[in-house]
């Protein structure tokens, strides 16, 4: 083995020396042989000649020796590459077109893959992320929940202390905290973590230390905080003396004990945590909800993670956790707070809940982006396939032109395998050049996409710079593409008939795989129809969502969020803060109306709760109404009319309780009755409730959570009637363009209370635009890809028809000599063109119909098999391709019979 490697090394790097040595060795041989002959009595000169002759051609011997040298394939490869580069350079137009096509195809794929990889595929930057799982409970938990993957703190403790399958478990809770550092007040995402969080993740500290189990043993005992590396760099300018210093979070003094390792921003991809705090400090970090000390098991708020023991698979773990979960559920189902708010049927349903384990790198953003990104990757793959078909076509045409060259090479003894190899190598060279250009293109494309797609202040880091995984992907794509477009022409060329090709054949071009080329064009037409249909569907989805809107006027509407409770304000102080703010903003010049709401509009959040009344009681979560608490002028500010009864007034404060409901609520809960004056109550697991909230008004159905929803039943309560006051969403209706008063508003708020930061100040239209960013991304990119695909297919069709016409020049000449009219010739060619288009369209439509179900969830306001879109796309494609086919048809009709016939 080693001697072989040494030989390879010598053969590659000391070739000159080796050749000289070989020469000398052979000279010595000849001399020795002739000396032997001289000794036997021969004439010296004659002996020398004989010796040389006996050797049988010095060059052949040298060649034979070279052939056994290790790494001879390398020599041949270098030769082939040189030959390939020369051949490609001889035909720069072809080479440029091919490289550009590939660069666009590979570039688009790489750009999309890079996003997909970073958002959807990549695992968390922790040790052995594949062994990490999220532990969740399936089914209805019957209680309040902070999200689908959350469980109650007592359940987490039970699972942590009694499981056999994890080497450890931790839990986390995301919170927003106000950081006050000097006069730089800001709200930042924080992660409240159990003491085992850092050890189990295997995440270390870049500076100081991370949170240890003893920091998280006793509630409220250790006010310590770990900073994320990027936050330490940006907010504290990478100051190394920060460790040990005290900072203020939610008006609580906290000691910085360390900075986490670079690149680690918590376990939620979309919302990178800036600070990590022991979960035992929950009360201080979320002043209004104290889930930690709440021993009730009906409040789900922590996400639980486990690290699988070595040798335990996710499925095994899931299976072996079921009995434990079942025993927990059996205990819970007997607790008074459970029995109070549920029926017997509910309890049976509840006992069927199970443990489900999800991959630990799963998160909300991933869930949300998975389908759209895969869709875009599929679209780009189709574009690349189409580009490859086009290139295969070009190569087939070129192979026809090079038949003579191959025949010559075959005739002088090149093996057919060598010719296939040579052609594949040329394809690989093209694909390689295309990949390099494509990589550059992908970098640019990703930079532009990220700028459009992510808001300017986005904390979520997606980099356009390709990494090892992206490079590996490009390599794979490059090899695959070169095979796809190169193999067919290469194999065809190697079958060249020597005798046929070397004969003089001026005028008559060989068939050149014309049927194969037609088929490739058919595939291109089919694929571009597919992409055009997709583009049509997605663009119309976006238009539907934009034009339908939420149901209320969104122009001249400004929104922001604020939370004085995070500054340590008591309920009384917070309430007073809001009341004064309401008055203050109403007097602001340019503001016509101010509306307050506890829940944000069109941001995907909802407060849901079961309601009960005289003849209805409870409901599973999907059917529960969506609720909010609003200020007096809320409906007027949003421009939502009152269709029956009245809106809230400032006088609607205790002891009577009032509600405004929407039409769907009225229809579902008070069918056939006048809803005004009806009563209902909110189910509470703490105490039995009676239905004594009175309906005073009805509003029409308006969208609440997002633009795609069918408005759910909604109920609104007067905000200032409550007793707990937390964050507030403030909506301002303005006289002029709301962006003009943004700066003024900021300044006014700073004067109002410099310690309470204004968060997420933006116009309603900006907010809606942002909420449609995925739809916009998919629509705009699919439109670009569709256009590109059509262009490539049209060029491909033109190429094949032009070639077909050229090949038939003589035939056309004869026809015209025999009296065919120009129009006859045009019809003849166009018939072929439309046959090609028709076949492609048929295949494309069949394909699009078959794939429609896959994109159904991404479509809004029309069917995924929308006939108008299908027909429109087919017409666009037919016209474009028809025009491309008309050019060669016209040229054919201009053939001069005498010239055409003289060619032979």
């Amino acid at each position: 083995m080693i001697s072989r490697l040494r030989a390879l090394w010598n053969n590659v790097f000391h070739r000159k020396q080796l050749d000289r040595d070989l020469d000398e060795e052979l000279q010595a041989y000849v001399e020795l042989v002739s000396a032997e002959k001289v000794q036997a009595g021969a004439d010296p000169e004659e002996a020398h000649r004989d010796a040389r002759r006996e050797m049988g051609g010095e060059h052949q011997v040298i060649q034979h020796v070279r052939d056994v040298r290790a790494g001879v394939w390398l020599d041949r490869l270098v030769q082939d590459v040189q030959y390939g580069v020369r051949t490609l350079a001889k035909n720069p137009a072809f080479t440029l077109v091919a490289m550009a096509t590939l660069a666009i195809g590979i570039g688009a794929n790489t750009a999309m893959f890079s996003l997909l990889d970073q958002v959807v595929l990549r695992l968390l930057p922790v040790s052995h992320p594949e062994r990490l799982v999220i532990v969740r409970e399936t089914g209805n938990h019957y209680g309040n929940s902070y999200g689908a993957n959350t469980i109650s703190w007592p359940m987490f403790e039970d699972l942590r202390d009694n499981n056999q399958v994890f080497s450890g478990m931790f839990s986390r809770f995301p919170a927003t905290v106000t950081i006050g550092h000097g006069d730089r007040v800001a709200q930042i995402p924080a992660e409240l973590v159990s003491g085992s969080y850092f050890p189990i993740l295997g995440v270390g500290a870049a500076l100081g230390r991370t949170i240890a189990p003893e920091d998280d043993a006793v509630p409220d005992s250790r006010p310590v905080v770990v900073l994320s590396y990027s936050f330490w760099r940006s907010y504290f300018d990478g100051d190394r003396t920060v460790v040990g210093r005290t900072i203020t979070l939610n008006s609580q003094a906290m000691t910085v004990i360390g900075v986490a390792q670079p690149g680690f921003d918590g376990v939620e991809l979309g919302v990178p945590a800036k600070v990590f705090v022991p979960i035992m400090m929950k009360t201080e970090m979320t002043p209004h909800s104290d889930g930690l000390k709440d021993r009730r098991r009906r409040l789900s708020w922590v996400t639980a993670y486990g690290r699988l023991k070595p040798g335990v698979s996710l499925e095994q773990a899931q299976l072996s956790l079921q009995p434990l979960m079942h025993s927990i559920l059996q205990m819970e189902v007997q607790q008074p707070e459970f029995t109070r708010s549920t029926t017997v049927a509910d309890r049976q349903l509840f006992l069927r809940n199970r443990v489900e384990l999800l991959p630990g790198s799963e998160n909300g953003l991933r869930e949300y982006m998975r389908k759209p990104l895969w869709l875009l990757v599929a679209l780009t793959a189709a574009v690349l396939l189409l580009a490859s078909a086009n290139l295969a076509n070009l190569l087939l045409a070129r192979a026809t032109a090079r038949e003579r060259e191959f025949a010559v090479r075959l005739a002088i003894g090149a093996g057919r395998a060598r010719i296939v190899r040579q052609l594949l190598l040329e394809s690989l060279l093209l694909a390689g050049a295309g990949a390099v250009l494509g990589l550059a293109l992908a970098f640019l494309a990703d930079r532009i996409l990220l700028r459009i797609y992510l808001p300017a202040d986005a904390e979520f880091v997606v980099s356009p710079i390709p990494d090892g995984r992206v490079l590996a992907f490009v390599m794979g794509v490059m090899l695959l593409t070169s095979l796809v477009f190169g193999l067919l022409p290469a194999v065809r060329s190697s079958r060249t008939e020597i005798t046929l090709s070397l004969k003089d054949r001026s005028g008559a071009l060989s068939a050149g795989g014309i049927s194969l080329r037609r088929m490739l064009v058919g595939i291109q037409v089919a694929l571009s129809l597919l992409l055009l249909v997709g583009a049509g569907l997605f663009v119309r989805t976006l238009r539907n969502l934009e034009s339908l809107g939420p149901g209320f006027p969104t122009d001249h509407l400004l929104a922001f969020t604020i939370d004085p409770s995070l500054n340590g304000y008591s309920d009384e102080e917070t309430k007073s803060f809001y009341e004064r703010l309401n008055v203050n903003l109403q007097t602001m010049p340019g503001v016509t109306s101010v509306g307050f709401s506890s829940m944000p509009l069109l941001k995907g959040y909802a407060w849901q709760n079961a309601v009960l009344g005289k003849d209805f009681e409870g409901a599973p979560i999907e059917e529960q109404p969506v609720l909010s608490e609003v200020g007096p002028d809320y409906f007027a500010t949003l421009g939502i009319p009152i269709v029956a009864g009245r809106a809230f007034t400032a006088q609607d404060v205790g002891p009577a309780q009032y509600a405004v409901i929407n039409e769907t609520f009225a229809r579902e809960y008070f069918p056939g009755r006048n809803p005004i004056g009806q009563r209902f109550g909110l189910v509470d697991d703490m105490e039995p409730v009676s239905p004594d909230t009175e309906v005073i008004g009805v509003i029409p159905d308006r969208k609440y959570r997002d633009l795609r929803e069918t408005p759910p039943p909604q109920a609104y309560f007067p905000y200032f009637e409550g007793t707990h006051f937390r964050f507030m969403n403030v909506y301002l209706r303005t006289q002029a363009d709301p962006r003009q008063i943004e700066d003024e508003l900021r300044e006014r708020m700073r004067q109002f209370d410099p310690h309470v930061p204004v968060v997420g100040l933006e116009t309603m239209n900006e907010q809606i635009g942002f909420s449609l960013r995925t739809e916009r991304l998919v629509a705009s990119l699919s439109a670009v890809f569709g256009g590109l695909a059509t262009l490539i297919a049209v060029i491909g069709l033109y190429g094949v028809m032009a070639y077909a016409v050229m090949r038939r020049t003589r035939e056309i000449g004869i026809r015209m000599a025999l009296g065919a009219l120009r129009s006859n010739v045009i019809v003849m060619v166009m018939r072929e063109v439309f046959l090609l288009i028709g076949a492609g369209l048929a295949a494309g439509i069949a394909l699009a119909l078959a794939l429609a179900d896959l994109i159904r969830s991404q479509i809004y306001g029309l069917s995924a098999r929308d006939p108008l879109t299908f027909i429109g796309s087919a017409i666009v494609l037919t016209v474009a391709a028809g025009l491309a086919g008309f050019i060669p048809a016209l040229r054919a009709s201009g053939v001069d019979p005498t010239t055409a016939l003289r060619q032979e």
Binding site: S3, R4, L22, A28, Y29, E31, A35, V61, V65
Partner: protein, 110 residues
């Protein structure tokens, strides 16, 4: 890396070259003449087969070479067996003996 299963003819030439080099180191022509001598003139190895074989076997690590002086006082490349070469000679001889025995038996059977 296991020794390549050389086909019969190439195997024969390799074996003869290895055998020719057991007693002394030889240059190319010396190997050729020695083979003629030990096979009673039955094999006359031509340069076109000899030198590729010598170079191939050197790369395989069975032979090693050095530049020495020939009987005509000329610089010539000499070959000698390496340890691996001796081992190869041993296994190849055994294999060859098995084959020739089998062949002889087969041919004697009527």
């Amino acid at each position: 890396m296991p020794a390549p299963q050389s086909d019969l003819l190439q195997g024969t030439l390799d074996l003869l070259i290895l055998k020719a080099l057991t007693l002394q180191q030889l240059h190319g022509m010396g190997v050729s003449r020695r083979i003629a001598q030990i096979t009673g003139g039955a094999f006359d190895v031509k340069a076109g087969s000899l030198f590729p074989a010598l170079h191939r076997m050197e790369q395989a690590g069975w032979l090693t070479s050095f530049w020495g002086e020939s009987e005509t006082n000329r610089r010539a490349k000499f070959y000698s067996l390496t340890k691996a070469g001796k081992k190869q000679l041993h296994t190849e001889s055994e294999r060859w003996e098995r084959i020739s025995l089998a062949m002889a038996t087969a041919l004697r059977t009527t």
